[in-house]
């Protein structure tokens, strides 16, 4: 998170003469990238996968030289603000060509890393349960079991009730995926230094999975509550659209909450670090570091909290959808 790209370094060089502007580096970190910064001036170039009307093409992102070079594939491409754009011979953005960018970006790569870690952890933990069947948990197993039990006993069972078993795999996967992504995102250097759960594309996918799960689990009562609520009929034209908006707005809130929390945390930490360069004084660094440590501690809490809230609300919405109505509450 600290020294993300060479552009940062360039700006650092320029700061002697002009006021340092933290907006660029911060937004660059927050957004996705075709490079994964490792250390110093070195970045890991990542594969670019483009789909145009001329078909799929795959090449390494090092061809762009951090945006300095253009690349001639099926079309001529340039890296503008870390986005691959088709350009004309004159170097202008070519709006006539539609490019679908399926590149393995920094976020995709880091997501796979997180998933690989999850797989290694939980497949080995599962092995432990096989070899130590009926015995007390040990090692990694005893570290993970409380979290699994937390999701089961504090998230799934209180919100969903006796039908919780069906939803455990989804809730556990969501919880641990968000958690590991949040935690890895807090690491300020390679292989951290990304902002995965603070990316709207990731949260929109997770929220959509919640939306689909909730509505496919919805029983008669759930749909009756939306389309035939217990209110005077003349209120239906108002209430039914409101309820339908409610279907969308619940996961929408999930999407925004996770995105905003993680992004905000990263922005604050980077802003505090930027203070050193804004004040252009080494004496600022203890203050910055102090505040950053403080913020990182809070972010650690937020990482757990957001994973919990997302899973918890998903369980709550599923619970509302599968609930058997005994009495009409509304």
């Amino acid at each position: 998170m600290l020294f993300t790209t060479p552009t940062f370094a360039e700006e650092k060089a320029a700061e002697k003469t002009e006021q340092y502007d933290p907006k660029g580096p911060i937004l660059e970190h927050i957004a996705d990238s075709h490079y994964w910064h490792m250390f110093g001036e070195h970045s890991l170039p990542l594969p670019v996968i483009l789909y145009t009307n001329k078909g799929i093409e795959v090449f390494s992102s090092h061809v762009f030289e951090h945006g300095k070079e253009e690349y001639q594939g099926n079309y001529k491409y340039a890296l503008i603000k870390d986005k691959i754009k088709p350009v004309t011979e004159a170097g202008e953005i070519d709006t006539t060509v539609r490019v679908w960018d399926f590149s393995i970006t920094r976020n995709v790569a880091s997501m796979w890393m997180g998933m690989a870690i999850l797989l290694i952890i939980f497949l080995s933990v599962k092995g432990k349960y096989k070899t130590r069947a009926g015995k007390a948990p040990k090692g990694l197993q005893s570290f993970m079991e409380p979290l699994v039990l937390f999701v089961r006993d504090e998230v799934a069972i209180p919100n969903i009730g006796h039908k919780y078993k069906k939803y455990m795999p989804l809730l556990l996967t969501m919880f641990f995926f968000i958690l590991i992504s949040n935690l890895l995102g807090l690491i300020p250097f390679f292989p951290g230094g990304f902002n995965l759960t603070g990316n709207i594309a990731v949260t929109i996918v997770l929220a959509t999975i919640t939306l689909i799960t909730v509505n496919f689990s919805g029983n008669k009562n759930y749909w009756k509550h939306i389309f035939l609520p217990h209110i005077p009929v003349w209120l239906y034209p108002i209430m039914i659209p409101v309820e339908i908006i409610g279907i969308i707005s619940k996961p929408f809130a999930l999407m925004i909450r996770l995105f905003a929390n993680i992004t905000a945390g990263h922005i604050i930490v980077l802003s505090l670090i930027s203070l050193i360069f804004i004040f252009n004084s080494l004496w600022m660094s203890p203050v910055s570091v102090l505040f950053v440590v403080f913020m990182d501690t809070i972010e650690l809490l937020v990482a757990f909290l957001q994973a919990f809230i997302f899973t918890m609300l998903t369980a709550l919405f599923i619970g509302m959808a599968v609930e058997e109505h005994h009495a009409e509450a509304h």
């Binding site: 996968i49 960018d101 399926f102 590149s103 797989l119 009926g134 996967t173 990731v202």
Partner: protein, 164 residues
């Protein structure tokens, strides 16, 4: 605005990756892990309830033992008391019987003695009588050896009869 515009590439890869992760973890991790945890929980629960039941059983047995012991003690006391009573009874009975028997024997002996005494007295009387008769006979024989004396006696006796 760029920040809140989802990129199609990341959406695509997230969807694909998340679903694969969900599938693999769901099939190979969460299922077995949750099953193992549930199994362990039930086994612990059964073990605990069994231990509790055993404890209760133990307490029940102990109290039963105590009750039995108490009962046995009471029984023993009863038996002892009864035996003592019986012994006393027997002793007193025996004493009484012995007393009675002694008295009876003494009585019998007394009667026997009386009888023997009576018999002896009777024999003595008989003896005395026969001796007297013998003596009298001898005396009479001596006296009536002389005829005149006989006549005198008869006359004397006749005189006495007249007087009567």
């Amino acid at each position: 605005m760029e920040l809140v515009t989802p990129e199609i590439g990341l959406v695509f890869w997230t969807t694909v990756s998340f679903l694969i992760l969900l599938f693999i973890l769901g099939k190979f991790a969460w299922g077995p892990i949750l099953l193992a945890i549930t199994e362990r929980e039930t086994s612990i629960e059964t073990a605990l309830s069994r231990a509790e039941a055993a404890k209760e059983e133990m307490a029940r047995l102990t109290s039963e033992n105590d009750a039995l012991l108490k009962e046995a003690r009471i029984e023993r006391d009863n038996i002892l008391r009864e035996a003592k009573k019986m012994k006393d009874q027997i002793v007193s009975d025996a004493k009484e019987t012995a007393n009675k028997e002694g008295a009876r024997l003494i009585e019998k002996a007394r009667i026997e003695i009386d009888n023997q005494t009576a018999i002896a007295m009777a024999q003595v009387k008989d003896q005395v009588a026969s001796l007297s008769i013998e003596i009298a006979e001898k005396i009479l024989q001596k006296q009536f050896e002389d005829q005149s004396k006989q006549d005198a006696l008869v006359a004397d006796l006749l005189k006495q009869v007249k007087l009567n």
